[in-house]
Every structure is written in structure tokens, then in C-alpha cells.
């Protein structure tokens, strides 16, 4: 590994200078003079039938080109979740529906010459609603006789006895009931997580236009260009060949850009009018009408033996998917599949989940993707088991975590359904991370010894995590590479850099393989016409899957280069050539040739061909990255405020292709998770309307809210990943809720069962704890 020339180096992001100097490269940086501006009208009711809608006045408003409602748009049931095919999501959405299902559901759209005209015209649309009883709570949705939100027969069919079930999961290994009976201690707790938002800097934005061949071009802020193409084609019933999707630089995804929510409306307007069209969400629209994180209620039950070995685990997740199903099934599934294998010593494991519709905002993909909600419960329950056993939770975790060479009951169960492919762990640095992280935070000195300074008390907490690297046997990437006369290369690949630096990582992989500099790789990506297929950026798949495809193409090119060099050097069987500094070197004979010479020779002189190759990658495995989080907090008993002092994220993501970008991902996810743990939360009226859709009332962390953050990277090598890499995009969002929750317990002996840990909730818990002494209390 120490021989790497490009891998493991902090290459500057290939778009760093452009971004820093404000070059026009985002979706909304492109403008056409005749663009129609689209504004949307949203339902003020959580559940209602549109009995009548009168758009005549709006249509007459100056500048208005068209008004869209359910009356004049295609009724094609589809999903907004760009995940794959066959779709794991229910087909419960169409462009406009006469039944609205949450406050923020779409009622109509106006396309006009200016945004102002569109906004004014919206006010002239007269809608007569028949308001229906609304379900705002997922437990209510499960009750017999509850109003049915989706009455489409393919959703409420015989297989769905609870009519508001969007999906259901049931995985059982061993015998948990017996397991609990055999256990010496059993902990059973319920934890709730809240509605929260991705809040990308760049909201959803789409610009559509017809190219000179009258093909529809969708320039959009998306994580999944190829899924956008497929789903828009489906929703509008046109062939994919008529659509080109381009993702330029985009201002963050975090999962919400895996949802296709604006593209179909914008495309429809362009196809109907022949004119460019644009929708740019306001921040308020982003909050009320885009996607959120699924709120979960997780009941976790853990049985352990006296020696600290876990023996049985049951996890039940009630997931609120809101008004539409989208990612409901797969998000909930990760609450079990990305958490329970971590404690693989327990052979009796059960994971059950109900994913229910409510008349609430629509939840979708969100970094962490269910694992975050699962860990919020699991990793606090683990601390409670340790407490019951009288063990240090750090020791308990050291005893029970999965190790290299091992599989887990859940992996085995999942493997059965996947043509017998079972995940075995090939790289796992948890032991190293546990040691280094504990040392960094001062665990042995601090844990169990809260430090008081006036009303302020310090405590430490920890949690451990795994995630995946793409979805095995589903996530697929592809790349093509061609060589130019100066020994530079054009890389066309399907990968989707959503600000993560994936394009830079791809360039580094090529550079390492071919002995050149990363800036000699010209990267073009995320264009459905021009790049090969790739599922897109989600499930922490970028480096592992898309990068894996890039490596495959680069290795083929390397072989072609070596073949030319062997012939040039007259060394037919040589296998030990070195590629570096743009040259092929034969260490034995001392001969060398530049890549530029090879390129000129093959392009123009010998054989007349361009050195180049295509590679594609799909893996039966999804090697998990691992993370160990330690946090020291200071909680003020008088104000209830929790202030994180120091956060240690010790991470095993395999070989970090670009350590600086890896740290960016880790810190970004941590900040995201700290906001989720402490402040970020949707507030609703009793009729389901969000009351804080803005950054004044919905608090995301700023730099002054953040602790000192220390990142520790493990020295590992994942043999199934490109140059030893695993993923790192999501895992670190999982830690802050349980680690801070555990630290709060360390400091004050209280435990909150609902996030975020706001001063109000902390104060309430302190009050109840004083009333009830040391019994753990849930303030809600």
C-alpha cells in the first residue's frame, strides 16, 4: 500500500477550482431565454378529495402558458423512488391525483413566462376539497377500521390485510423467545426517531428542454440519472430513447435526490409546449413537499448471558412512510440488515417491520437509510445491557462484534434469498478502532466518572456501526476509457458525483492503474446518452461499485499498454513492467517508453487503433465499512442544553482512496447526525401541517455548534474493493444519536427515548428522573 502513487493521496477535487471560482456548472446555471417557470400548488389538507378544480382564471392570467391538474395529465401509477427494476416500491404515485394525501401534496402546477406570474396565477386556482379523516400517527394507521389512504386495488389487495401497510418485513433466525428465556439479563426498550430533512444546499431543481432532434433533455439535480430516465419515460409513457438525462455538478443529495419528484412535471410541460421549463424548489417547498427521513418507532429486546455474550436480539421497527411508499420497504429493511449482523454472536435473531402509510410528509431515501434509526435504538439498548450486566459497554462490544472471516445469522438469512450468496466479512478493523478511539477520547479514565462544574456535567458515550458498500447483485457501474496522444485518458462512466468527489476518486483509480497523474484523466459522467449505465449514487456505492467499474476498465487498458511495450521492447513474456510518470519501464532491461509514444504508435503508425476498454462491475458482496464513535458531552442541568465537546470517529472504510475526501464524508455525516441528534425536527399542527419549514425554525448545526472532531482511519484493505476500498458515505451519520444518548446517561443517569435531545426534553427527563429517582424515563 505504501507503494501507491495516487491512491491514498489527497488529490485536489477535480472540480475544486471551478466550484471555488463559481464557474457555471450547476443545474440552474444554464438558462434559456424562453424558459417557462413552473410553480406548484399544494394541498392545505392532510387528506381530501378534490371535488372540483377551476383553473380558468389562472389560465387567463398574463404570461400563463398552461395549468396542470389531474384532469389534463397522465394517470400512470409509478414510484418516485429511483432504485431499480423490478421496483421494490409500490406504484402509488402519479403526476397529479384527485385525492390528496398530505399537507404539501400536489394539487396543480402553473407554467408561465416568469416565476412571479406563475405564483400569482396559482392564487387564482379555485379548489373545492372534500376533507377526509386523516391519519397522522403510524400506530393509528395499523388499527382496524382506519381510513384507507391508498385505495388503489394493487395496494389494498388481499395480501395487505392492514390496508395502510405499504410493506412488511419478517426475518427470523434461530428462536428468539427461547433465546430470551436462556438469557441471564434481558433489556426491552422502545426508541422513537423524528421527521427530519436532508436540507441539501441546492434544493431540488430541474430544467428540461428539447434538443435539436426534439429529444427531451432533463438537466436535473439527481443521484440517479438512469433511473430518472426510466421513471419519467414510464410516467409520461414515452420511450427512454426520447430522453436524455444530464446531471451536472449538484449541491448535495443525501438521498433526497434519489427521488424523482420534479422531473416528470417539468418534462411534461416541455413536451406539451416545446419550450424549456424549470422548477426550482424554495426552501419551504423542499421541507413540505420533498422527502424526509422515515420516523421510526423501534422496539428492541436483547438477551445476554452473564459472561457478556449476547444471546438473542429482536428488533421491531414501525416505519412511517408518510403519504407515499417510495423507499419505505428498503429503508426499513436496512434498520435490521445493516445493524444486527454487527452482533453476530447472538444466534437467535428476529427482525420485523411494518411500513405504514399516514397522511404525513413523504419519507424517502436519507443517508443512513434505516440503519440510523435502527442504531438509535440498538446502540442505546446495548449500553443498557452492559449496565444490567455491570460491564463496561466498551468491553461488551469488544466481546460481541463481528470479525473478519465471519458471517452472521442475518447475512445467512439474506444470503438464502439471493441465490445462496452469503456475505462474509473480509476486512474488519473494529478491534483497532475500539482501541484507538477509546484512547483518543480517554474512555477508561472518563467512562462512569461524570465530571461536574457548576450546573454543567460532562459524560462520555460510544456506539459502534457497520453499513454496506452498495447493494449486492443489484448495484452496477460501468466505465469506458480511451487513450489520447499525450498519454492522457478520457473516462466516461456512469457514476454520479453528488459533491462527494467520486469523479476525483475515479481519476485516482485510473491514475494509479496506469501510472499517470489524476489530472491526466478527463472525467465525463452522469449523462444517459453518453456514459454507460450505472445505477447511480446511493447505498454508499460510489467508490466500491462505480469505482470498481473504473478499475476494471483501467486494468484492461493497462494490459493493452503492456502488450505494446512488450512488443516494442522485444520482451514477449515480461510480466514485471512498471507504469509510472507516464512511462512503461522494464526494470530488467532498463528500457522505457512513454505512454504518449505508445499512443502515437497505436493511433497512427501501428495497427491504427485507439487503446481503450470498457469495464463494468457488480458484486455479490457489499463489504461493510465499520465505525466506532466516542463522544464527550457537556450537559447543563439548568438549561437542558447538550454541548458536544469532542467527537471521535474511528472508521474502517478500507483503503481511503483520497483521505481528505474520506474525512470530508465522515465529518459531513457526523455533522448531519449531530443535527439529527440534537436539534433537527419537524413540528406539526394537529392537522399535519409543518410549522417550521425554514432554517430559522428548523435548526441545522453551524460550525459554532460543533465539537472538536477527531477522525481516525483504520489501516485495512478490503480485497473485493478497488485498491482495497470500501464505502464511507453514510455510516457516520448513525453514531450521534446513540453515542450522545449514552453520554447523556453517563453524565446524568437519564436516558431519552425520543430524539432529538432538545433542552426541553433533557430538562423534562431530569425533572422526571428526580421524581422517580434513577429509573430511566421517557418524557413523551
Amino acid at each position: 500500500m505504501s507503494n501507491f502513487k495516487s491512491i491514498g493521496k489527497d488529490t485536489k477535487k477535480i472540480d475544486a477550482l471551478s466550484l471555488a471560482t463559481g464557474q457555471p456548472m450547476f443545474v440552474d446555471d444554464v438558462s434559456f431565454p424562453d424558459t417557462l417557470q413552473i410553480k406548484l400548488l399544494y394541498s392545505p389538507h392532510a387528506h381530501a378529495i378534490i371535488e372540483d378544480i377551476d383553473t380558468s382564471e389562472a389560465e387567463k392570467y398574463p404570461g400563463v402558458k398552461m395549468v396542470l391538474t389531474y384532469k389534463n395529465t397522465p394517470h400512470v401509477p409509478h414510484t418516485t423512488a429511483g432504485q431499480g427494476w423490478p421496483e421494490p416500491s409500490p406504484y402509488d404515485t402519479w403526476m397529479f391525483n384527485e385525492k390528496v394525501k398530505f399537507v404539501g401534496d400536489r394539487v396543480a402546477a402553473v407554467a408561465a413566462e416568469t416565476e412571479e406570474q406563475a405564483a400569482e396565477a396559482l392564487k387564482l386556482i379555485k379548489v373545492k376539497y372534500k376533507v377526509l379523516p386523516a391519519i397522522l400517527d403510524p400506530e393509528d394507521a395499523m388499527k382496524d377500521g382506519a381510513p384507507v389512504i391508498h385505495d388503489e386495488p394493487w395496494i389494498t389487495g388481499a395480501y395487505n390485510p392492514k390496508k395502510n401497510l405499504a410493506a412488511h418485513i419478517d426475518i427470523r433466525v434461530g428462536d428468539v423467545e427461547k433465546g430470551f428465556k436462556e438469557s441471564d439479563v434481558v433489556v426491552e426498550e422502545t426508541f422513537e426517531t423524528q421527521y427530519a430533512q436532508h436540507t441539501p444546499i441546492e434544493p431540488h431543481v430541474t430544467i428540461t428542454y428539447l434538443d435539436e432532434y426534439s429529444r427531451l433533455v432533463i438537466r436535473t439535480s439527481t443521484q440517479v440519472p438512469f433511473h430518472v430516465r426510466r421513471i419519467v419515460a414510464q410516467a409520461l409513457q414515452i420511450p427512454v430513447q426520447k430522453i436524455r438525462v444530464i446531471k451536472p455538478r449538484i449541491g448535495g443529495g443525501f438521498g433526497t435526490k434519489q427521488e424523482i419528484i420534479l422531473e416528470e412535471i417539468c418534462s411534461f410541460v416541455t413536451l406539451k409546449t416545446g419550450r424549456p421549463a424549470r422548477i426550482l424548489y424554495t426552501r419551504e417547498e423542499e421541507f413540505i413537499s420533498a422527502r424526509t427521513r422515515h420516523p421510526f418507532k423501534v422496539k428492541v429486546k436483547i438477551g445476554a448471558k452473564k459472561d457478556g455474550m449476547l444471546h438473542a436480539i429482536s428488533l421491531y421497527a414501525l416505519s412511517n412512510t408518510g403519504a407515499y411508499g417510495t423507499h419505505g420497504l428498503t429503508v426499513a429493511s436496512n434498520a435490521g440488515s445493516k445493524t444486527l449482523p454487527l452482533y453476530n454472536k447472538a444466534e437467535n435473531v428476529e427482525f420485523v417491520s411494518d411500513i405504514v402509510y399516514t397522511n404525513m410528509p413523504v419519507a424517502g431515501a436519507y443517508r443512513g437509510y434505516g440503519a440510523t434509526q435502527g442504531y438509535a435504538a440498538l446502540e442505546q439498548a446495548i449500553d443498557m445491557v452492559a449496565e444490567k450486566l455491570g460491564m463496561d459497554p466498551w468491553e461488551l462490544r469488544k466481546k460481541n462484534h463481528i470479525k473478519a472471516g465471519e458471517t452472521s445469522p442475518i447475512f445467512r438469512a439474506l444470503g438464502e434469498g439471493r441465490e445462496g450468496v452469503t456475505q462474509y466479512i473480509q476486512s474488519c478493523a473494529l478491534d483497532e478502532l475500539l482501541e484507538k478511539g477509546a484512547k483518543e477520547i480517554g474512555w477508561l479514565e472518563k467512562y462512569g466518572r461524570p465530571k461536574r462544574n457548576g450546573s454543567k456535567v460532562r459524560g462520555v458515550g460510544m456506539s459502534i456501526h457497520m453499513q454496506g458498500s452498495g447493494i449486492p447483485l443489484i448495484d452496477m457501474g460501468a466505465a469506458t476509457l480511451k487513450m489520447n496522444e499525450d498519454g492522457s485518458f478520457n473516462l466516461l462512466y456512469g457514476g454520479t458525483d453528488i459533491g462527494t468527489g467520486l469523479d476525483t476518486v475515479a481519476a485516482q483509480i485510473v491514475a494509479e492503474t496506469l501510472g499517470i497523474k489524476p489530472d491526466q484523466v478527463i472525467v465525463y459522467a452522469s449523462d444517459t446518452d453518453l456514459t454507460p449505465f450505472d445505477v447511480g449514487a446511493y447505498a454508499s456505492s460510489g467508490t466500491f461499485v462505480s469505482g470498481g467499474a473504473v478499475l476494471k476498465a483501467a486494468l484492461k487498458v493497462r494490459e493493452q499498454i503492456l502488450e505494446v511495450a512488450r512488443e516494442k521492447f522485444g520482451e514477449a513474456d515480461s510480466k514485471d513492467y512498471i507504469l509510472e510518470d507516464g512511462k512503461v519501464i522494464s526494470p530488467k532491461s532498463g528500457k522505457s517508453i512513454t505512454l504518449s509514444e505508445i499512443a502515437y504508435d497505436t493511433l497512427y503508425v501501428k495497427n491504427q487503433h485507439q487503446i481503450g476498454a470498457a469495464g463494468s462491475f457488480v458484486s455479490p458482496y457489499s463489504p461493510p465499512p465499520f465505525a466506532v464513535h466516542f463522544v464527550e458531552i457537556e450537559v447543563d442541568e439548568e438549561t437542558g442544553e447538550i454541548k458536544p465537546i469532542k467527537y471521535v470517529a474511528a472508521v474502517d472504510c478500507g483503503v481511503p482512496i483520497n483521505p481528505n475526501l474520506v474525512k470530508g464524508q465522515i465529518i459531513g455525516a457526523l455533522v448531519n447526525g449531530i443535527g439529527y441528534a440534537l436539534t433537527e425536527e419537524y413540528h406539526f399542527t394537529s392537522s399535519g401541517r409543518m410549522t417550521n419549514p425554514n432554517f430559522m425554525d428548523y435548526k441545522i448545526p453551524s460550525t459554532r455548534d460543533l465539537p472538536e472532531i477527531k477522525v481516525i482511519l483504520a489501516e485495512t484493505y478490503e480485497p473485493t474493493g478497488p485498491y482495497g476500498a470500501k464505502s464511507v458515505a453514510e455510516i457516520n451519520i448513525n453514531g450521534p444519536i446513540p453515542a450522545i444518548g449514552n453520554a447523556l446517561h453517563d453524565a446524568l443517569g437519564i436516558r431519552l427515548h425520543r430524539s432529538p435531545y432538545t433542552p426541553e426534553r433533557v430538562l423534562e427527563a431530569i425533572r422526571k428522573s428526580k421524581e422517580k429517582k434513577l429509573e430511566p424515563v421517557d418524557p413523551e
Copy 2:
């Protein structure tokens, strides 16, 4: 062949609708608000040293951003000819030179905010010239003691005893002197062809800008995007990786767009200022400063036996390349290599050429590429041989032309220099064409029987021709193809459609191979970043070379599709599947599956990969197309005007992939050739200044100048070409001069030795012929 579904069908050009509706797609349809407009200052002298140049006033002019001269631009010798590497052209050009070498040579350029400002500022540049003796005639250039035009040592070196030689060719097979002695009749004649221009509807135009990564983008009207990239990189001394060349739709090439004449200046301004820059030639600039056809003086000597068999041919071409060498060598080479093999029965053959510099406009690549000038002489001399033998020239040609299965002395000589690869003719329909064409024009009834009507006399003439299909072992094309969910395909290929319809031909080749419709192929081409390498559009290479590459990629994709179908059908060894209407059909079992089903299955369900492949093509052969031309003219003895009445072009271009486009190419070339034969000509002052640089004074044919044109396509199949195709782009420009010249002789018994055949020259020849009786007369 009758089974073809797409090949041989008149598919509408894929850009037809866009072109007809004026969609923005040409170079100059893209504009940036901050574009710098560039105007050029040209030398008023044919040969001079710039002793001093003062740009200070120009630089102060409002709106002027920069003024370029030889003082502040790179001095990197290169060639403007985009041909290949190693360059066959002398490195005799740089951006600006202190020595100017023709009237129209570049002296300076101004980049300003508006074109008007740039033009005004040009007038403020003060240039002090030291005027040198100029060489305006190529024979003067060869004289001892002639002024040396290029004094660069690598041009005037020891190998160049005649200091103004740009190149020299000498090919000899057998013994021509002996051959002439053994002949019963010998004809020796000299024919001269004139300066003429390509006159593309769209003049040269280039727009350059920096993309968001500060890479230089050159959007240009070119036939050779990859050569533009390489040569601009060389001229500006930057790596090719910093350059992207895009050719959008362009308004004609005809060879002049194979010259890189604006790109380097425009690029330099953009690199220096960071701003977009644009140069659009006026028609006058196009005439005086772009490229022309090489004027030739061809001495041809033919010896024949009494039985009509040709026995020895000698052809000497003196080519005037003007002030720079560019395509001089290769154009002259084609005057022999594309003409003499046609008469392969003569075993004693000699082809010698001198390509000389003069202080005249720069000649470059021009449709026909030397063959036109060669045939102007050869095919009139053949008629004169027939006359001497008392034979019908049609009979003489039937006896002597090359046939399928044969090679020729010149092919053998060329093959020796090319690693022993000798061209054998695999398809040749000359016999069929000679019969059908003669019948269509009424040859046997009309030849030798001129028909008089007052002062107007009708006569018939003919000529026969071959050309090539790309340059063997040099021209190379490549393509990649990928399959979408709806069974459509993205084709990325390097080919360069310069208005010919090549992109449509490529789509038809894919469609035929995969059993789909051509509009299911989404074609993207001519972008050095995104498409694979291709040498570009010249040498009639499009269909044969680029199309050949497309076929290779399509055949690989077909095999992948069949593989999936075999597995689906459970018919492992089946080889007889039919691909049609977007389906794979097993005739034996009756099973079928759509390409869309196969695409969904491979992309999402099975193996997770995208069906797709890359193909590249280079051929050791350049199968010649053949053409037989017959023309009936009416010449007015009083006015001297020649009016073509009917023109028959009988053409063997192999299988016509798209007969309509083939006819377009044939008629387009004919019209081009008729203009060259009758009216198109540069006029010069005695100091080398062109006096007619506009369409009022330089007459190109309009529809009312044209005869009835009858196209006959042979039924042939070229086994080395895609679906039996050969090329058709150039060959038909070669006929009009000799065919009309022969018809003039048939009508009036006179023969002009210099084109074009203007009324003045015809009248002069009539006058001299009356003086000297029937002896052939050259009026000049």
C-alpha cells in the same frame, strides 16, 4: 440483398427535420454574451518581409482586447493539413510569420468586443513591408536562382535541390520509354487545370471557450476533429488533454474543412483572455485566405497497340501548392494513384510529380483530391488515342479497364511500400455501367455524329473513373454502442458527418444489424472528449471506414443479444435466429423475445450489465468505386457558350446504404464538377491578387445552369465494405472536365487544354481551329 430491412432504403436523414426547421445546431448558432470577435489583417503583397508593425493605435481603439502579430504569438512550425501522423506535409506554417508569402497571408488579428470594432482597429495597424520578388507561376518556381519562398532549413535542406519544391513523387513500373517505342500510336498532351474553390455554404467558422474546468473547447466547422485537437495542441504547445473539439452540424466541407486555419488563432485568444472567441470568415476571406484546389499542369503520354490495347502511360503532374505545402504531396499522389490503375493493361507506367511553392493562394484538400486534375488530362488523352486508332473511345475503354479479380502495376508498386499489401479489385461494375450509361445517353447513335441547329452544335463525350474508399492502413474509425431499456441504442462514434448523411448511414448499419429501426439509434459523433478516435471525413472514408467500425460494434452487440436469447429460449447451440422489428425470433421453436425484455433482464435482473460493445476498423484495402460519365452538350459557335443538356452518371459504389443520400452525393459532386469545368476560376492581377472573390464574379452553377442528370447505380457488392458498400463522396467530381471536353471535340472537333471551358476560350479555340484547320489548339 433484397432481404435488407434498413440498408438500401431511403431513410430520412436523422437531422433532416432539425435542419429544415432551423434548429440551432451549427457552429455559429451558439453564442456567449462575452465573446471576443476576431478579425484578420491580410498581406497586400505576394511576397514581403514585415520590417515593422505598429499595433499601438489599434490596441487603444475602443473595445479592442488584444492584437496578435508574429511578435506576440508562438512560433511553432506545423502544418495546417489534418491528415495523420507522422505528417506527410512540410512543417512550413506558424500562427503569424514576419515573412508573408501570398496576397491573403496573415499579418495580424484583432480581438474586440464587436466585429465592427475589430474591423476598425485593423485599419489602425501600421505595417512596413519590404517587398520581395514574387513567384506566381510554378514553372518559374522550379528555375535555378528563383527566389526562395520558404527559407526554413528543414525545407530547403540538401534533399531539396530545387529550393521551392514542397514535395516530389516518382513511381515507375516497367519501362515506359521502351513501351512507347513498342507502341503503334503515341499521344502526348498537356492539360492545365485552374485555381478554384470549395465554396462551402458555411465558410470556415470557429468558436472557442473555456469550459468549467478551464479546458479549451473548440467548436468548429471541421472534417477532422481529432486532427484539429492534435494540431492546435502542437501549434500552441499545450497537451491535447486540455482541448476538446466539437463538430456540430456543419455546412459543407469538400476538403477545405480538413485544413486547420482558424482554430489556433481563436484558441490562442481564448487561452490568453479566458474569454470565448469567434472567427467567422466572410466570403471574400474564404476566397483569398482559405484553401483552393491545386492548379495542375499535367503532361500525359500514352502508347497503344493497333488492337487498342494500351501499352505504356506516363503522367507528369506539376502541382502548384501556393504559399504553403499542406496537402500538396498527397493530392498530387492521387493524380496518379487514383487514375492510372484504371488502365491496368498497360504494364509500363510512370508517374512523376513536382509539388512547388509559389506566392499564390494556398491549395489544399479538395474533393477529388488530385484525381480530378489527373482525369482532366488522362481521360481526354484516352479519347485522343482512340481517335488516332480510329476506334470508338467507348470501345477502347471497354477493352482496357480494370476488372474484378485484377490488380494493376501502380497498385503493385504502392503495395510494395505498404508492407506488401496490394489492392486487388473485388467488385467492379464498369462493364455494366458502360453498357447502361451508353444506352441512357444514346452513345452509339450520337457519338461521332454532331447535330447542328443554326449556330448550336450538339456532341457527346464520356469518361471513366475510379477513386478510393479511405486510405488503406491509415484511415481508422471506431464506435461504441450501448443498449437502453426500450431496445434503443446509443451510438458514439468518431465519424464526421459534414452534411453527407453519414450519421444516418451509421444508424442504418446499426438498425440492419440489430433488427431495429434507424430512428432507434441515438447517434452522437465528432466530439474528441466523448467519442472514440476517428481520422475524420476525407478520402471518401465515411461509409467504408467509420461505417465499418459501426458495423463491427453492432455485430458484437448482436452476438451478446443472441447469447441472451439462446439462454432464454433454452436453445444453447442455435445459430439461425432472426432479429427483426425489435425482437429476436427463433424460427425453429417459434419463440421470440423483445430487445426491451432482453435489456431489462440484463440491466436489472440477470448479471446486471449493459449490453454494449466497441468496434474499430482499419482496412489494408481501399476498394475503389467506379463511375462512367456520359454527357451531351450543346455548344454555340457564335457565343462560345457550352450548355450541358444531359448528364449520365453511372456509378458503382457497392451497395448504396441509403440510395437517396448516394444520389445526393453523386449529383452534388457532378454540380461541383460542372462548375469547375465551365465557369469556376480565380482571376488574378499581375501581382497575384485575386480579383473575383465573390459569387458575382466567381460563378458557381445554379439550378438553371444544370443539365438533366440521370444517375444509374450498379448492382454490386463489395465484400470488404459494410453491407457491401464502397464510397461515393468524391468520384463524380472527376468527370465533367474530360467528359465535356471530349463532347466539345465531338461537337466541333476542337479541344481545350485549359479549364474552365469558358465562352471566351471556346471562341478562341474555334477561331484558331478555323485558322489551323483541324489541328488541336490550346488557346493559352
